[in-house]
Symmetry: C2
């Protein structure tokens, strides 16, 4: 069982890991180049001094790894090491320069984060239900891998093994490319008349949500993964050019939009595994406290599990439209029940 | 008061308008080039034969307007006319060819829709809380404009006046450009290994949600608004090229990502008007019926209004993380209250 962990880096990720492990009785020492950051994180997690930790976690930008890796390796000659950086090819190269480290260093990447950084934003539940990728090299000791898998599962995440290059190609496509597309789309909104912006719907909000992310974090991620990103960006650029050239040609426009629908269909559902299809039940309620509670009480009474919920307010009106995502069976059961007791329920949508 | 309406076009929009108006006692006649579509919509809305309608609504693609406008104008010489197309410049040009029509034709565009078309998907509440744009010409009769505004407000939408060119420029930027960006981004996902797709997070889901839209609808919208779209697409292309050229230059990457954050900040909050800042209260609950109801009952007891709600499930676990969007005051009140009665509440986030 894991009992002593040293965490180098007292930001969002390092402190969140610490909060989760401390809850399980692990002794943690927080380290940071900034003494104030180290002090804040130590207070938040109840950090202590730890000698001979089983595990040292590098929770800092990959660009700062070279500044600490040699001294930490020397200081903790028997420990297992892991990092949490967003790009893994570079880390694999760095490890190569330290003979003996390869057997005890596990490069990892938790698929979790927040727009706001710092120890103050840390949450013990940050990794709950998320994927956490490991990119172990063939020489890694099984005992070191087991230790890291134990940390990941203890924090509520699911360990997934990939090669460093597969990892970097995968996140380039499913995470870094969407970030760039969202940011560049949102950039086009600068200096748009306010009365036009009033017309913005959910589509614009959804497509630009992640454009609110922090540029100091993303400049490093994008720069580090530039080799994998470049061909993806060029493909996107070619498709954008194809759309511009097709503006006079509705058939080609339709092909491009249809291809987008095909690509979207490849995204699995929220729960992982096969994409889940929900049924949607729209209910018009008074926009005041108590209404939502009453509906959820009816759900509980009918043993109906709400998978998701969308609330749409009507500006200047006293009603709101809430839409419950449910299994088809639950949707039918709830529709009949709520209708029978007088709620304003609309037909189920797929 | 409006009493008789003729709706030409029995798809999603036409039938949804009919459903909303029938509820207010308006007599509706549904018309469609397809007799089966006309019959289905008539059944759904309880359509009747209407003579001398006060209002004729063209609820069909703008490309089909020329096929019906002359005969409808001749058939209903005293009626007011409105259309509901997504692009307004073309309609303004078409009206010019019918002397006498300008005083009684109101081009409009409801900012509402669904990914699924057809009368079967129609909903009386489709327009609740949405904006509905009018692009009246200077010769329009006040009585005709009043009639259309009455329809819009009756359906729960908010009428907004714009010039046809402002409308087309506005929707190009806030609706058509995001659709194209989302579709082309999603297109890049085709043939991605399934195990990579398993890593997809909320960012990818949000940025590609509208890529599920119907290409037959969008090919017409994009083609019709190509004049306004072209410069916007070229700007986006230039920014994409700037990002590709900046991949070796973290400072320029940061500038581009920061510009995206600036653009995103221009989007107003859900309620319209000034963008609203919510505080977010994360609560870990058991993932079973009854928990959400209990929380909302506490909200009601404390007179706390929930503005929005995010539910995150943890695959394979028995807990879920729900995050309530609240005013700062309500968030603080609820945090103290829920904590005092033993809920697993995490610190408020901005």
């Amino acid at each position: 069982m894991l009992s002593k962990v040293r965490i180098v880096g007292s930001g969002l990720i390092g402190t969140s890991i610490a909060l989760g492990l401390v809850q399980r009785g692990v002794s943690i020492q927080m380290i940071d180049a900034s003494t104030s950051a180290q002090s804040l994180a130590t207070d938040l997690v109840g950090g202590v001094e730890v000698v001979d930790p089983e595990l040292v976690i590098f929770a800092l930008p990959t660009s700062r790894l070279p500044m600490v890796i040699a001294s930490e390796f020397e200081l903790n000659p028997h420990s297992t090491f892991m990092d949490v950086g967003s790009v893994k090819g570079e880390v694999a190269l760095q490890i190569e320069t330290f003979p003996g480290l390869k057997t005890r260093f596990v490069p990892t990447h938790p698929m979790a984060g927040r727009e706001i950084g710092g120890a103050g934003s840390a949450r013990a539940d940050l990794f709950q239900g998320r994927s956490w990728i490991l990119t172990p090299n063939p020489e890694l000791l099984q005992s070191s891998k087991n230790l890291v898998v134990e940390v990941i599962t203890t924090l509520g995440a699911t360990p997934i093994e990939l090669s460093p290059s597969d990892h970097d190609r995968a996140v380039a496509k499913i995470s870094h490319l969407p970030q760039i597309a969202s940011s560049l789309l949102a950039k086009q909104l600068i200096n748009t008349p306010a009365e036009w912006m009033e017309l913005a719907g959910q589509g614009l909000r959804d497509t630009t949500r992640i454009a609110g992310s922090d540029e100091s974090l993303w400049k490093e991620i994008i720069h580090s993964n530039r080799v994998e990103l470049r061909p993806l960006l060029i493909n996107l650029q070619n498709d954008l050019e194809a759309m511009i050239n097709a503006l006079d040609d509705p058939a080609t426009i339709a092909e491009l939009i249809a291809s987008g629908r095909q690509g979207k269909a490849a995204i699995p559902g929220k729960h992982g595994g096969v994409a889940r299809e929900y049924s949607y039940l729209p209910i018009v309620i008074d926009d005041k406290p108590g209404q939502l509670g009453s509906i959820f009480n009816e759900c509980a009474a009918m043993n109906v599990n709400v998978e998701d919920l969308i609330i749409e307010h009507s500006p200047g009106q006293l009603s709101a439209l809430i839409t419950l995502a449910l299994s088809q069976t639950d949707a039918e059961k709830l529709f009949t029940h709520l209708t029978s007791i007088g709620w304003n329920v609309h037909p189920i949508r797929k």
